[in-house]
Amino acid sequence: MTIGRELKVTALGTKVSGKTTFLLGMYAELSAGGPHGYFLNAPDPDVDLDLGSRWDRLLDDGILPERTGADVIPYHFQFLDGIRPLIDIDWFDYRGGALTDAVEGSSGDVAELHARLQDSDCVYLVVDGGYLVDPISREVVRGTLAKTGLKRMSSLLQTVIQKKVQAEEPPPTLVLLITKSDVIPQRRREDLTSLSDDLRMLIPLAFTDGITTLVCPVTVGNFGLDDPSQVSVEEIDPHGLHLPIVFSLAEYMRQLALAAAYAGTAVGGRVAELEEELRALNTGVFRNRSKIGLARTELASIEEDQATYGYVFEQAAKRAEMLFGELGGLLVFRDGEAATDV
């Protein structure tokens, strides 16, 4: 039984951010079987083949995936626990013109991206680790914001989050995905607090009230600062590629569990009201059988809903706990503070 609907993920990043390589590595790793027997699978065998063969080219010949001309690449995946489908994933890889300030005015592109972001459960802001090699000082903030595309991403997200808040909807979860993290000096890479402080300076929005953010450095290998199209296959050593999607699912499941608990409590109140109503209707000599029947029917239906919410809560909370357990060592921020419940 699937317990969620569909997880919408939007990945934003400039054309050289390493987003495609990350996606290929993540798919290769999880489609072969991830931790605890989880799988990511493309229902379309041609997509599976395409993603797999592009990753194989990197493993065999060290050829990094070509930068495609497309602005938007949608993918449909299924996340499975063994052979049991858990949730569908609608993945949207965006590297289009709306990410550059220059085209802010070209309404079609921007409007499409806004709509997508508005609909997303999770947004990945993909940042090239090459820009985070040294600690970020006030002097370089402006230049780094422009080069990484974070300035534009931040502006787009600001609008989306404001609309979500107005509509009383939860804002999307964020992942600050630092690609090519092999180029960041080891001490700095391992001290995620310092790295997070720098990111807080670059994109304060990700560390504000109501926002949940994962800081996640990933790497495909030790390729250094150069950006060649071909790398040494001996240096390929992927790390952490599965963690962002594991986090997205964990957070989705956590929110689903919270929503189910809230709904369960709400209907619990109505159950108490109906039971009281039935007690009142069942006293006295002249009883209104029609009202009693209606109340009983409503009570049975609500109790059924309550059981469903209970089941969803139990399943989602269990999944969330298991998935969060995979993120050991990474920093998750809720409302700007490092979370202790992951």
């Binding site: 072969a32 991830g34 027997g37 799988f39 041609d46 797999g52 063994g82 052979i83 049991r84």
Partner: protein, 301 residues
Amino acid sequence: MNIVMLGHSNAGKTAYVTAMYGCMRAGVSGFQVRAERREVGAQLQRRASAIAAGHYPGASDRRSTYHLQLWHESARIMDFVWKDYRGGALTESSHSEQARQLQADMTSADGLVLTIDATELLRGARSQAYVRPLVSTAIRLLSQRSDHVPVVIALTKWDIVKSVDQQALAAAEQFVGALVQSLRQTDHLHGILVPVACGEAPRNVAIPVLWCLHIRLLAYVNQLDYEIRYLDEQRRIAMSRSGVIDSFLSWMNNEPTWTEIAARRAAQALQLRAGLEPLIAPARELSTLFNSLEQYGGPQS
């Protein structure tokens, strides 16, 4: 019964089906496999002899289909079709006729044999990329199945990795462990992982085919048993409703009496029993062949 064998090019699929025929034609614990057509059987036996002498067949360039029969002692127990795909079908897009055929065959397969060249498991990071298309395809198709399906993960060319077999087993655990775990979580998939060698020192050659046939036979026997019980119950109910009044009313309405209905159910049950009885002993004997193997999934785990 359709058994689909899947694996990369040069994973030893054709060698396996040939060696399996040679081994099973000679007989294993009273069971034999025979080809439906005599000339096919003769050809397979000639090739099997060559493999036993260390001469392996070349890679096949198209799907080969073998119509085979399982015999126990002198009784023909079950017919089955063995489909051996050329390796490329696994890594070709849906534009390829073979790839399309493979998808269709796998969707309706009654048994699945996934072949993995054991020597490829010892190539570090590249091993995962080698195994990935097979695992991914299996997961995609098995996630759509809810019926009983035997799934064999055959680690072929085990004779070549014999000197480092513990290392190869550890690598198998690493690269197909998640698939094995997936099978273990189900009641309807019946998995085994088995090292296989086909050459001069054959090993476990009969296990993959007999496992598939065993699970299928068991499912068939259970189905027959269920139908017989159902018919017996129907007969009992019909008998309880029979009597003089029923006979009169049935005659009036020109419909069969409950006594007649009970007799029909009894005849149907008898016919099914006649089909079931010769299968019980072979099904039991087949079961004993896998006692030493770890089984993943199915009601027993």
